[in-house]
Amino acid sequence: MTDEELQELLDEAEKKTNESLAKLSSLTDSELEVLVPSGIDQKAMNELIEIVQAATRSTEQKAKAIKSIANLTDLALKLAKKAATA
């Protein structure tokens, strides 16, 4: 038997085997769903993240503004006390 004839026989055997057994090693849909749950809408999540980021920036500014007012108040109170005692 030549090498070419042997390869043909092997091809035929492989084809038959794959046809009958191909599906046995693949992942099932339920396995995939367990491994990676669907339902996370990344686009929507990113949009929400941007909104929260904007709110955080605004709140940070608010905190800074109140801190400045606190410093000014402290100063004003000290000055008022000095003025009262003078």
Binding site: M1, L10, T17, M45, Q53, I69, T73, L77, A80
Partner: protein, 253 residues
């Protein structure tokens, strides 16, 4: 009623400025409201008249108080949110480890399947092909054995490569999902952190006013009373009246 009682309730202008041209136009139209408040002999006004140097500061503080809002966010909420973030990262690592274990198990099963199912089936089919060619199906030459082994190993490697491809795709998807969740939580943590900062700044501001006015003006207590009134009252008018009475009690103590 002395001059001090009749001073403008919105600013610290003295009564002689009230009707003059120098009085801010914004206050000129509120004469009727001012008259009502003056006639009520408001204790609140009295206190402000006594503490006139602090009135500007008080106005700024009330604005800041309203600006900051009344909701109280405990600083522990930031720690809790950070804890959630850390937990999510650990969950991610555990999830990925589980996926790797799952695929290792799959590979082990694949090896067994190749050995127990695929190889015998392949040999059976090869024998049938030999028989169909008129060859002896029970005699395998060295070349035949070598060819069969190469084909079986190739079939196993292909399937293992597919499994690996699936494993990598699943892990990439998992990482993307966890990435979004962790980022979202980090943003919420940052928001909570800044809200806590606002609360802390407001508290220190209110505390310094309380200290500066020797406890006469406790804006924090006034804020609490206002919150209580908001919860209790059925309509806006009730809220305002109840709040006004509470403030009178507080500054009259």
């Amino acid at each position: 009623m002395n001059n001090g009682d009749k001073s403008c309730y919105k600013c610290s202008h003295a009564p002689n400025f009230r009707s003059s041209k120098r009085h801010p136009p914004l206050h000129r139209n509120s004469e009727q409201t001012r008259q009502t408040l003056v006639s009520m002999n408001c204790t609140f006004q009295k206190t402000f008249s006594k503490a006139r140097p602090l009135l500007a500061v008080g106005c700024a503080l009330i604005a800041a108080f309203a600006f900051a809002g009344c909701a109280s966010i405990p600083s522990e909420s930031v720690a809790l949110s950070r804890g959630i973030g850390d937990g999510m990262q650990k969950q991610q690592q555990a999830h990925i480890a589980l996926v790797n274990l799952f695929f290792n198990e799959k590979k082990w099963k694949l090896d067994n399947w190749i050995e127990d199912v695929y190889a015998p089936e392949f040999i059976k089919n090869f024998r049938e092909a030999l028989k169909a060619k008129g060859e002896n199906p029970d005699v395998f030459t060295g070349e035949m054995m070598s060819g069969i082994v190469i084909r079986i190993v190739k079939a196993r490697d292909q399937r293992q490569a597919e499994l690996d491809k699936a494993r990598i795709a699943i892990i990439e998807r998992l990482n993307a999902n966890y990435g979004v969740l962790i980022r979202a939580n980090a943003e919420l943590t940052a928001l909570l952190e800044s809200a806590v900062k606002v609360n802390e700044s407001t508290s220190s501001l209110l505390a310094s006013v309380k200290e500066g006015t020797v406890g006469k003006i406790d804006l924090e207590e006034i804020g609490k009373k206002f919150d209580e009134q908001l919860l209790k009252a059925g309509n806006a008018a009730d809220t305002t009246i109840g709040f006004y009475e509470s403030v009178q009690e507080l500054i009259g103590k």
